[in-house]
């Protein structure tokens, strides 16, 4: 990769003063003033907080917005002006031929009742209407090969749901490439995917831009992805351009406050950085700020949660989803459950809470198998456990006010009178830095981060001995995530609970947890202190997982890509 080459490259897409307004019941200025340029063979990343108008901007270039959207701005494609203000014939002509788009959710973006081959063939025929059947098929197979899918001839006869997420995303890319476009608009192409799969897609996009000279515009909120793939970065906020620049420069010398805030919010993770193998546990402790967490209690004490040989199945006579997992958590200790999506993290959480069918092993809280107890005692134990579920929206009843949600366990579990409970709820809201005037709002009326805090307030209402938090930050953008984690640390220090922390975000785990369990297909592949597992992973899977988590550091990512490419050619 040489910068010199890029500077001379021709400009493919030039967007100036793009604005999109939605008219209707209320007028939404989704994009106000947005400008950027994409050159041949270059990857441009657009980053910005959720709702800042990234997707809308991309869609507007292809005229894929609803009727109530009013678009204006100067757009030049290959130097020729393109009128994006209405569904002009030119816009329809460039679709799929000069500008293609890769959509965010791969399964949702494919027509479920056509085979993937047919769907690619359609795109081929758009560009070459006179092609005969054999030509089209040949081209489809070529495309499947170019996106590195195995056995293209069987694969093309499959339906979207028969493919994995990564394969589906590759199909979308193949469709996008069918018209040999000059520009590829990729809207969060990897958000729905596992880190390991994500890496493959990013490599593919990178390779396409390099080898075919396609200009790639990638939209993402993951700074790790940006660091990994982008040549240029465009930061957008509230529908307007904040800062743009070459990636390495922007990461090291951010000019704008917002950009800086964005980069600061990314967890700092020396454990995962650089080359694997150097042993520097002490450095970790100081660098992660983990010092704020009290040291784990002596190991001769009774663990708060002890899971032994746990197996779980969702329905009778179906194969287990979790096989023989064991771990324990002491007071003041935070144990992380990590692993790719679907590896059984949430399942373990559910089983610990008695919400999934345990097929083997034991779950002990304070030394008793509480799930086997009678209802009444079981309920008592349950009151010692605080729970935060994965999605902030889903974990609050949309028809309860925030105060009601927080007070519910107090009223119905402890029998606190309603008035007192509501008063206590307001105190708890103070603790999680929510203003009291929010007490009567409904979950839909507050932001995701605020909801997360309501869940936390509710979870600590009963002063839990054990806190179970299932991906409490998965759905948040980095800045909100940072706030939530800070709050978490504070609470843990004050209340001293043991914590089971589920996450797929390795940098976050590295900075926050004491012990870690790595899961693959429901099996425990690694278990131990964070420092040893992350620094000296003993299994290939763990190593791959750790390496695939993109770090928000362009140099590290470039180095990693270089190593991968070497490995591939070797």
């Amino acid at each position: 990769m040489s910068d010199g080459k890029l500077e001379n490259a021709e400009t493919v897409l030039e967007v100036n003063h793009l604005a999109v307004t939605f008219t209707g019941k209320e007028t939404v200025h989704a994009v106000r003033d947005f400008s950027f340029t994409v050159h041949k063979g270059e990857v441009v990343a657009i980053v910005g907080e959720s709702g800042s108008g990234k997707s809308v901007s991309a869609m507007s270039l292809l005229g894929l917005l609803p009727r109530n959207a009013v678009v204006s701005g100067d757009v030049k494609l290959d130097g020729k002006p393109l009128d994006v203000s209405y569904l002009s014939p030119e816009i329809r002509k460039i679709r799929g031929r000069q500008v293609s788009m890769i959509f965010q959710d791969p399964l949702d973006s494919l027509d479920p009742v056509f085979t993937v081959g047919e769907q690619i063939a359609e795109a081929v025929r758009v560009n070459d209407p006179k092609a005969d059947k054999a030509t089209v098929t040949a081209r489809v197979i070529d495309l499947l090969k170019s996106v590195e899918l195995p056995e293209p001839d069987t694969l093309r006869r499959k339906y979207p749901h028969q493919l994995s997420g990564g394969q589906q995303q590759r199909i979308l890319i193949a469709i996008a490439l069918a018209g040999r476009p000059r520009i590829l608009l990729a809207d969060e192409p990897t958000t729905a995917l596992d880190v390991t799969v994500q890496q493959g897609i990013l490599d593919l996009l990178h390779q396409i831009s390099r080898s075919e000279g396609v200009g790639v515009l990638i939209i993402t909120h993951d700074m790790g992805v940006v660091a990994d793939i982008a040549d240029q970065v465009v930061v957008v906020r509230n529908g307007a351009l904040v800062e743009a620049g070459e990636t390495v420069r922007l990461f090291h010398y951010p000019q704008n406050d917002y950009t800086r805030e964005l980069l600061d919010a990314v967890p700092k993770t020396p454990l995962l950085g650089g080359s694997l193998g150097s042993d520097h546990a002490a450095a970790v402790v100081s660098a992660t700020g983990a010092t704020s967490a009290p040291a784990p209690a002596a190991s001769d004490e009774q663990p708060v949660l002890k899971v032994e040989n746990l197996s779980v199945s969702y329905a009778p006579r179906t194969p287990d989803v979790v096989h023989g997992v064991s771990f324990d958590i002491n007071h003041h200790e935070v144990l992380a459950l990590v692993g790719e999506s679907g590896s059984g993290k949430s399942t373990i959480v559910r089983c610990v809470l008695g919400l999934a069918q345990q097929t083997g092993g034991t779950v002990m809280v304070d030394g008793v198998e509480y799930l086997k107890q009678r209802r009444r005692e079981q309920t008592k134990t349950r009151h010692k456990i605080g729970v935060i579920f994965q999605s902030p929206m889903g974990s609050l009843d949309p028809r309860q006010t925030l105060a009601q949600s927080i007070a519910e366990p107090l009223i119905y579990a402890l029998g606190v009178p309603r008035g007192d409970a509501l008063a206590k709820a307001e105190e708890l809201m103070d603790r999680v830095h929510l203003t009291r005037d929010m007490a009567t709002r409904y979950p839909s009326e507050i932001s995701g981060g605020q909801r997360q805090r309501v869940s936390i307030a509710r979870a600590i209402a009963l002063n839990p001995e054990l806190l179970i938090a299932d991906e409490p930050t998965s759905a948040l953008d980095v800045s909100v995530q940072k706030d939530v984690i800070a709050l978490f640390r504070e609470l843990q220090r004050d209340l001293g609970f043991a914590c089971l922390f589920v996450s797929h975000d390795l940098p976050l785990v590295a900075s926050f947890c004491h012990k870690v369990v790595v899961l693959q297909h429901g099996q425990e592949v690694e278990y131990g202190p964070v420092e040893s597992v992350f620094v000296h992973p003993t299994t290939d899977y763990a190593r791959k997982l750790i390496l695939s988590a993109p770090l928000a550091d362009p140099e590290v990512q470039h180095e990693r890509r270089r190593l991968r490419e070497q490995a591939a050619t070797a």
């Binding site: 959720s50 709702g51 917005l65 009727r67 109530n68 809470l353 509710r458």
Partner: protein, 312 residues
């Protein structure tokens, strides 16, 4: 997340938004008008709906009888207003039965799962398979023909749809994390069902209930046609209309069929409007992209341009 946020936002304020739509306003005011007329109207009329006057049978509308008289010289207007009470009572009460039965069974089946679910679903299928009229006739003769039996029959045979909907909703709500939370907390099942599950089914229930009103009012009319509806001497719109079932009356005595016919149509139409407004509110349509229905001009409308400029 932002999408989820906006959808749920619409849900929470959905009904409030529905109230402002023209469809809702038209429907609600028509229903209110009908209710007011039927509740208070009879008090103002000089005739009792069952007063027989054999001297003026099937009289055309005149000064004394604004809507004429029926085959026994009874005042059609008085019977119309009084019959409206019956028809609406049938509608509301039958829906009440349906909603109560359907919601409870659906919620229990969805929440409990397992054999309870299978059991309730089999019951639901059984009821679903009953052909309406033969069973209604049989039940009517088992129970005798009167308004409460009409209510019972319509409710009894009509709850399955709502039950299935509520069950489906509860099934997905049950796995939602706020319900898992209450279960993890060890709260009693009834609390979870009533406070969380059923409450979150309100949109489904409400929309379905308005459709069920339609169904009940029309079924009462059809049952009257088959001689099973509200029985003499009481009137309902259904039995007034069914008594006018002859080509003779149809061609020469419109005052006997136009009022009840128009009343049924108005009531059903307006209830449907309300239902449609509510259902549009709770199931917000994602707007289609431009290509689906391209504007004829392909240019932003003047109104849109104004809005953009005003906002900018």
């Amino acid at each position: 997340m932002s999408e989820q946020q906006s959808v749920s936002k619409k849900k929470a304020v959905g009904f409030a938004a529905a109230v402002k739509t023209p469809m809702f306003i038209v429907g609600a005011s028509m229903v209110s008008l009908i209710v007011v007329l039927c509740v208070f109207g009879p008090l103002l009329l000089p005739y009792h709906p069952n007063d027989i006057d054999l001297k003026s049978m099937e009289a055309a509308p005149n000064a004394a009888h604004w809507l004429g008289t029926d085959a026994l010289g009874r005042d059609v207007l008085a019977r119309l207003l009084d019959g409206g009470r019956m028809s609406m009572l049938v509608g509301v009460a039958a829906v009440f039965v349906q909603v109560v039965v359907g919601t409870i069974l659906g919620a229990v089946a969805g929440y409990a799962g397992g054999w309870a679910d299978s059991f309730i679903m089999r019951i639901t299928e059984i009821f679903q398979c009953f052909p309406f009229y033969p069973i209604a006739i049989t039940l009517a003769s088992l129970l005798g023909a009167n308004i409460w039996n009409v209510v019972f029959i319509i409710g009894f045979l009509g709850w399955t749809g709502l039950c299935r909907l509520v069950r489906a909703e509860v099934l997905s709500l049950r796995e939602s994390e706020f319900v898992l939370y209450t279960r993890a907390l060890g709260l009693p099942a009834w609390h979870i069902i009533i406070k969380h599950l059923v409450r979150n089914c309100y949109p489904v229930i409400l929309v379905n209930a308005t459709l069920a009103v339609t169904w009940a009012v029309l079924s009462e009319a059809s049952m009257s046609f088959l001689g099973l509806g509200v029985s003499q001497p009481n009137s309902s719109w259904g039995n007034m209309l069914s008594q006018a079932q002859s080509l003779r009356i149809l061609s020469s005595e419109p005052w006997l069929w136009v009022p009840p016919g128009a009343a049924i149509i108005c009531l059903v139409l307006s209830v449907n409007f309300i239902g449609e407004a509510l259902s549009r509110a709770v199931t917000p349509n994602k707007p289609h992209i431009r290509d689906i229905d391209p504007p004829s001009t392909w240019k932003p409308t003047a109104k849109q341009t104004d809005a953009v400029q005003a906002g900018a």
